[in-house]
């Protein structure tokens, strides 16, 4: 075990927005399919047909859980690929129609970075700012629409502070513009905050399995019936030509299992996770020099982001880990380069305070008892760090 003082199992894992622990049933599914159904779904012999039918079954389950049609479910290698496929695929498909895209200031790196390349290809990107709660305004999005706008891409739940964006209102507004596609990065929201893909007029919707106790390397892009986009890469024409490459059958089956189990817990444990979040927020507010970045309302139930003024995020994260509490500074995908959370900066928080930001992120597996312990660890750590600094 790597943990210095405690084994992994003794640790409180509050970094579920970075990645989650796969459910045992998910691992079992993966093992069973890998053992018994290793065929290539494109092969026409029995082993291939069996693999193909398992893949179709996984697709059907995913579609039912997402309330879309099976033919709208495209398997990918994860959230980053889904986001890139949606954005670049739309841009390249419709570049003759228009070269303008609208997005928000608080998107995930895989969305933000995809635009860099598009800019080089001559696309214009309008970045809609957010308010102090990290939320975009529907009016501002509508005002930004030009004659050559081809795509609006807005995330559902922000991965750093947990703000829920007004997806339903944006969808209703965009419905009036028949030439604009609407993409939603649903990676953080799925299983925690409901989203009706069809009703909200979403054309493209990204999800990633390892954020809901599925496996890394598996994800989905939902592409609404009738919407055409260009592939990121080509080859054997799998996934209706949109995503070539031998299908990861065991991965897809285990993802369907993970989503089913997660949505069951959504039914039974949503109240519990909200209570844990409420408790953590309440206790954190009582501490001196604490700034809460997670909004008071319109927030996902699993993310709590705050700063203790005067402590650098990384220092605090390591100090908490010493005592058995696992949290993170910012999104895992950008934590390597020690960047300040761009979401919190976009919320007009000073750089100082943003540099101290810490994210706690829960899953349905976390308990109130863990939250109790976490608060006492945070309190002790704050006291100790203050002593060191004085």
């Amino acid at each position: 075990m790597i943990g210095k003082k405690k084994g992994f199992s003794d640790m409180i894992y509050f970094d579920n927005s970075a990645t989650t622990k796969p459910y045992p049933e998910v691992v079992d599914s993966f093992v069973k399919v890998s053992n018994d159904f290793f065929g290539n779904p494109s092969s026409i012999h029995r082993l291939g047909v069996e693999a193909e039918s398992l893949l179709a079954q996984a697709r059907k389950q995913m579609s039912e859980l997402l309330q879309v049609n099976p033919s709208e479910v495209y398997f990918t290698s994860g959230g980053t690929e889904s986001n890139n496929l949606a954005i670049k695929g739309t841009a390249l498909m419709y570049r003759n129609r228009g070269k303008h895209i609208i997005t928000s200031a608080v998107e995930h790196a895989s969305v933000r970075e995809a635009y860099q390349q598009l800019k080089e290809l001559g696309f214009r990107i309008t970045v809609i700012p957010v308010d102090a709660e990290g939320r975009v305004s529907v009016t501002e999005i509508e005002d930004a629409i030009c004659h050559d706008t081809i795509l609006v891409s807005i995330m559902h739940v922000n991965n750093e502070v947990g703000t829920i964006q007004p997806i339903e209102e944006i969808g209703n507004m965009i419905k009036g513009y028949s030439k604009i596609l609407f993409h939603v990065d649903f990676v953080q929201g799925i299983g925690k905050v409901a989203l009706n893909i069809q009703k909200h007029h979403i054309d493209l919707c990204s999800i990633s399995a390892h954020k809901f106790h599925g496996l890394k390397g598996t994800g989905v892009l939902v592409v609404r019936e009738g919407v055409q986009i260009s592939p990121l890469f080509s080859g054997g024409n799998q996934e209706w030509k949109l995503r070539s490459g031998t299908e990861n059958v065991a991965g897809a089956v285990s993802m369907a299992k993970a989503l089913r189990l997660t949505l069951q817990r959504y039914e039974t444990k949503l109240r519990q996770i909200s209570e844990i979040q409420g408790y953590l927020l309440k206790e954190l507010k009582l501490l001196e020099d604490v700034v809460i970045h997670t909004p008071n309302s319109g927030r996902a139930p699993h993310i709590i982001n705050f700063s203790v003024k005067g402590f650098r995020g990384e220092v605090f994260v390591h100090a908490l880990e010493e005592k058995g509490l696992i949290v993170s500074t910012t999104s895992a995908c950008s934590s390597k380069k020690k960047a300040v959370s761009h979401t919190i900066l976009a919320m007009n928080v000073s750089k100082d305070v943003a540099e101290s930001a810490i994210r706690l992120s829960l899953s349905y597996e976390n308990t109130l008892e863990e939250a109790n312990k976490a608060i006492s660890i945070i309190k002790t750590t704050v006291t100790e760090l203050r002593e060191v600094m004085h």
């Binding site: 790597i2 210095k4 992994f8 894992y13 970094d15 970075a18 990645t19 622990k21 045992p24 998910v26 691992v27 993966f30 890998s34 053992n35 065929g39 290539n40 494109s42 092969s43 026409i44 012999h45 029995r46 082993l47 291939g48 290698s77 994860g78 980053t80 986001n83 890139n84 670049k88 995930h108 790196a109 895989s110 970075e113 995809a114 990633s208 390892h210 496996l215 890394k216 390397g217 990121l232 890469f233 080509s234 080859g235 054997g236 024409n237 070539s244 299908e247 990861n248 991965g251 990384e314 994260v317 390591h318 880990e321 696992i326 500074t329 895992a332 995908c333 950008s334 390597k336 380069k337």
Partner: protein, 381 residues
């Protein structure tokens, strides 16, 4: 599978029990995100690092020259599109062959639409390109040469080293799709002299959904997708830690007794041919027995048609294929056989690929020959 004989390892191979075990342990115990700075993240990172180092060593590469991808298709596309976009200022000409995997051919086609010019080298009736043709095709403005190491349908091994030598003083980057060759052939990137090399895990008893691209240091590569800074900014997305660990395990397994396996598969090939000959049916080998991948054997059975052959063999419990699994589904004539024999040849409609792997036995091969002979006799009566 009851009495099932699997001779379609070039399509995909059974996942080795030790690979599955390795993966399950990582999934359960080391599920962290390698980009996280805490111990869960660091522990996951160390698995990725160790696996990368093992895999790099297997082809004589440096650790930082390995980019993990979602598989062979992504590796081929990343290599071809990535090099083309990075070096288009130096020229717009690409050389490939007519018998590449569709991941390569379609990537080249998509570049043609963007204004690149692609030369598709022909092959002879044995599936071999000619070095003379290559020399003639090479121009000053060639920026990329992509030629597969060993063909997935007929097994033909191409003169990679020779071509690499011809490119030593040329600007063009040299990519080889080694998806079928990796694990059996000796692939040392320095000896081969290639700049990029694609591999997929599920062809060597590893999991589906993972592969790698070797990219020689100082080779520029425009990514396909953007996001986090994973894989040195060349392939964004949370690393598929468990599959990477499973891949490394599969590489380790493949390296054990590699020479014996090559010999064993070559023996199985010869045995299949001998057993068919002894049953007095007419057939011929598409390609050569020497200078060929040890596990791939493509046979033409005059008077039959591929579809009834496959269906009948499947009913008898023998899993083989018409060629690349990725083009299966539709039984269009194989582009590889068309390149070798021409559109009009009988062979493009009566050929079957047998491909061997771990666990195949002489008994299975003899039984397959018996079944094949029976079906051929029935179909040609």
């Amino acid at each position: 599978m009851l009495n099932h004989i699997y001779l379609d390892h070039a399509a995909t191979a059974p996942v080795h029990a030790d690979v599955i075990e390795t993966m399950a342990v990582v999934m359960k115990e080391q599920f962290g995100n390698p980009s996280s700075i805490h111990s869960f993240g660091r522990s996951a990172r160390s698995i990725v690092d160790e696996s990368r180092s093992k895999i790099a060593k297997s082809i004589g590469a440096r650790t930082e020259e390995i980019i993990f991808t979602s598989g062979g298709t992504e590796s081929d596309n990343l290599a071809i599109l990535g090099v083309a976009k990075s070096y288009q200022k130096n020229g717009n000409h690409i050389i490939t062959t007519m018998i590449e995997h569709h991941a390569v051919l379609h990537a080249c086609k998509s570049l043609e639409k963007e204004g690149f010019e692609v030369t598709y080298l022909p092959v002879d009736e044995y599936g071999q390109i000619s070095v003379e043709d290559f020399k003639k095709a090479l121009r000053d403005e060639t920026i990329l040469v992509t030629i597969m190491f060993g063909n997935n349908e007929v097994g033909a091994v191409q003169p990679i080293k020779e071509i690499a030598r011809l490119l030593e003083d040329h600007q063009a980057k040299f990519h080889t799709d080694a998806v079928q060759a990796f694990g059996l052939m000796d692939l040392n990137v320095t000896e081969l002299g290639v700049d990029l090399l694609s591999v997929s895990a599920h062809k060597i008893n590893g999991p589906k959904g993972i592969g790698f691209l070797y990219v020689k240091q100082n080779t520029a590569l425009t990514p396909l997708s953007f996001g986090g800074e994973q894989e040195r900014k060349r392939r964004a997305g949370t690393e598929n830690v468990a599959s990477i660990a499973g891949f490394a395990k599969a590489v380790e397994i493949a390296s054990i007794d590699r020479a014996e396996k090559v010999e064993q598969f070559t023996e199985l090939k010869k045995l299949l041919i001998k057993s068919l000959q002894s049953r007095d049916i007419t057939f011929s080998v598409n390609g050569l027995l020497e200078n060929s991948l040890p596990h791939v054997l493509n046979l033409s059975f005059p008077g039959t048609d591929v579809e009834s052959m496959l269906v009948n063999l499947d009913m008898e419990g023998v899993a083989v294929s018409s060629g690349s699994a990725c083009t299966a589904g539709s039984i269009d004539p194989s582009h590889v056989l068309v390149a070798m024999f021409g559109q009009e040849s009988e062979r493009v409609r009566n050929s079957i690929r047998f491909s061997f792997g771990l666990y195949n036995t002489k008994g299975q091969v003899e039984r397959s020959a018996e079944v094949t002979a029976k079906i051929v006799n029935r179909l040609t009566r």
